[in-house]
Symmetry: C2
Subunit: 508 residues, 2 copies
């Protein structure tokens, strides 16, 4: 389907940008006609890497070609990610050329052949990744190569540093900036808003930047967004933290360790997450956020990310050794990861749990309350607001007397105003197929169920656990409530539950 090229001499490699509304995650994709003058003149074929220039910016993208009239011969159709990075308007003129070869890939190739990488090598690799120059193939090769031969301590430090340097770095007045991080894998583990409220109520600084869900039913930012605005820019974040000592905002607007988000997406696809990568991922975000003291929550359980105490101890050791190189103090808290924390799984359902704890409601989930107080207590001691051994008690007191709730309200107001989390239009219970004691809850399947019900995009959707490990249930007793905003999603979740009777298991 090739058309004759212009006979008037060498055409300029220009095309007209068209926004396609194409959602490709982080990948930058451009669609061009096979017979457009740029493809012909540049000798471009499908899946070539191209460099696109407009607005004084140059962005790399993967080319797909179109042999059909729905795309014009003069048009370049841009994915949303590419559109945002180029910052053009519809109809803008762009130029397209072969992307130059990536020099940093020579480091990746050397790593594939078993050589160690230096600080400079890893800066080159991570810089190109943060600039969006690596395709999925390049990314997977780097991650695999640095897993097949595990990153050593020096490389992990270098990778962490390169990831910090590739993005923004925040700083805060005062010598102590507290942070917390949960090593993921546990649905409903929404302690962050509680810890921030308690710690800030005790006078410490805790400027928390959180992520949205990538594959889980809710990230902290998704949950917090049902309670207050979270899309704050850096000046707004500073105002909130100056006024209230803490915040719970989405970290996306401040570009902390931007390569990390890209790594995480690829690691999820491969289901590979080695220690070196995990350490660099967690610490680069915390150090870039300007933290000085971090409490690390490591849930341990058969369906959590970390499955044994030994693995948790090893991870904890690696985290503190690398953190020490950056002057970051860490404390690890190993916690029970055998089942979800709290009752709700999904943005609004988790927000309801958070509110219940803050407001000291009688039916507030005790495990969430306890876990948040343990973490807050560690942070209080660690940050110097409580004597050793007194942190937990102080946290509980601040929660019980309403100071944490008032601080949370003030933070929400400062972020733009308290919101009421939405409720779902449709609910349907799952019931125990036989009576007995609950002996197993599959975290991964509970998460999947909540996602099928619509979480995290549908804020009100998810599941609510009505029973926990060790509870006795009767045959036919409702033990999980599905929340959805459409009958279709409700049915999909129900269908999944029917096909997965091992979601929760009972012993007679």
């Amino acid at each position: 389907m090739s058309a004759p090229a212009s006979e008037a001499g060498p055409p300029a490699p220009r095309l007209v940008a068209r926004r396609l509304g194409l959602i490709t995650q982080h990948e930058a994709v451009v669609l061009m006609r096979t017979d457009c003058h740029v493809c012909r003149a540049e000798g471009l074929s499908a899946k070539a890497q191209v460099a696109i220039s407009a607005n004084g910016r140059e962005v790399y993208a993967t080319l797909y070609q179109v042999d059909d009239d729905w795309l014009g011969q003069e048009e370049a159709g841009l994915s949303e990610s590419l559109w945002a990075r180029l910052g053009v308007g519809d109809g803008a003129e762009i130029t397209v050329r072969h992307a130059p070869s990536l020099e940093s890939m020579s480091s990746v190739r050397r790593r594939i052949y078993g050589q160690r990488l230096s600080d400079g090598d890893l800066h080159g690799v991570v810089g190109d990744i943060a600039a969006g120059r690596y395709t999925d193939i390049h990314l997977a090769a780097f991650l695999t190569a640095s897993s097949a031969l595990a990153l050593d301590h020096q490389e992990t430090v270098a990778l962490t540093r390169a990831m910090i340097d590739a993005g923004e770095r925040l700083s805060w007045p005062g010598p102590v900036v507290v942070d917390k991080h949960s090593v993921g894998g546990l649905p409903g583990n929404r302690t962050t808003p509680l810890v921030v409220a308690i710690v800030a109520a005790c006078g410490l600084t805790m400027p928390k930047t959180s992520s949205r869900a990538i594959t889980s039913p809710a990230g902290t930012a998704d949950t917090m967004e049902t309670l207050a605005p979270v899309d704050l820019d850096l000046p707004a974040i500073r105002r909130v933290v100056e006024a209230e000592g803490g915040c719970v905002v989405w970290g996306g607007a401040v570009r902390l360790s931007p390569a990390d988000d890209i790594f995480i997406r690829v690691e999820r696809v491969l289901d590979v997450d080695t220690e070196g990568q995990l350490v660099a991922s967690v610490l680069s975000k915390k150090i870039a956020a300007g933290s000085t003291h971090v409490v690390l929550d490591i849930p341990v359980g058969p369906t959590a990310k970390v499955r044994t105490e030994d693995a948790a101890e090893r991870l904890s050791g690696a985290l503190s050794r690398v953190a020490a190189e950056f002057g970051l103090a860490t404390r690890c808290v190993l916690s029970d990861g055998a089942q979800p924390v709290g009752r709700g799984v999904g943005p609004a359902l988790e927000a309801h749990d958070v509110l219940a704890v803050l407001q000291n409601q009688a039916d507030a989930p005790p495990d969430l309350r306890r876990h948040a107080c343990v973490l807050a207590g560690e942070a209080l001691e660690f940050g110097g607001a409580a004597a050793a051994g007194e942190g937990l008690r102080l946290a509980e007191a601040v929660l019980a007397d309403g100071r944490a709730w008032r601080k949370f309200l003030a933070i929400c107001e400062a972020q733009g105003g308290l919101r009421t989390p939405p409720s779902a239009s449709y609910t349907r219970p799952l019931t125990a197929s036989r009576g007995g004691r609950i002996v197993h809850i599959n975290n991964r399947k509970i998460a999947r169920l909540a996602k099928l019900a619509g979480a995290p995009d549908v804020k009100a959707a998810g599941v609510r656990l009505m029973a926990r490990l060790g509870d006795e249930v009767a045959s036919g007793q409702p033990w999980v409530m599905i929340h959805a905003d459409s009958p279709g999603e409700l049915e999909y979740a129900l269908d999944y539950a029917n096909r997965n009777p091992d979601l929760m298991e009972v012993e007679a």
Copy 2:
């Protein structure tokens, strides 16, 4: 941009197929509206792997989402690769669901963590790859993992076997089936049609299936296509070989070692090609093609794929050890890879060289003639048609007395009729910037130049070398002729040549 889902109960996960003319190489891509009922009900997000069913077939694809009206809410836009694999018509109903997780990826993960893979593991991996179930991320991880810890002999044998078993396997009457293979990287090295003509003229069986160019300016199938049809199905191939003893056809229609084509595309992106992968790639194709005796041409040179004699000897040893496990006899011929072979680079230009040699034209490129005779001579001795030490002489005689040309004509006729290779509309010489002796020709840059001029898609395009290593040239003397079919492509090639004065280097 979410729309309310139907209130009438759970919608069936059906969409209407729309052919988008989207060219994505091997990758299967489907585009669906973010707000379509399937995405909402299945909880699908961008870059999810989905399983698409139609026509009793199920094919895996990568989902991209569209937040725009150019795609209908009931439509699923299919890439050409997906369209072909599903075999549907426009408007066909398809169903879409989450792709099940890939069990064979657990083998890849074990390989990442340093464990060796068994025959069964590799069958699982290669089977999924040949079925199109691996994304680029999965493919790059497998290739990297099996490079970071090199494949051992047992694994290479197992990978070769798995690659053979994933596709068709041909068999031929008679105990001796001759084949040849050049380890790539050398432009213009178009010996195959000559070797087939000579060997078949001497009564041996040589059913040659060749590939099209992936990143080079011409594959053997591209060149042969300017001389005769090459898109033959298996019954047609059998008829040609029965009648004439040989053929030169495109291998794509017979699905020999289909995983190999997928590996090659990813390896090219990474520029990683380890010995184990190369051995499995070459041998799986030959064994699947039913060959019993293979002559392997290994060009050695600073800008060829194999750069030293040591590397060539190592590769040759690995090839013959693995081949022996399948009862395949191999002979390796190390050749001079310092410069392109023949004069033309590009499908039609190489075809002209082939014809000149076959027709004993006075200006036929002597290096191409010599190299083809050496390889044919080895094949003749190896296949029992010439005594040891007599093969080269026989090959030269069969070429000189016109028997090879007559055989080639007969093969072309049997394949569908001899064609005249096209000529380009535009030619422009490059000239030496100063006088002296040519001491270096960059194979990779010559190939790039030919591609910019339009090869291999524009059959007549490419470059013709008018001087070779060791030749004395005067300042301003034409030494390369660019052939193009449009002024734009001509200018692009000229521009590249101007920016790359080290294409050919002269010493005073």
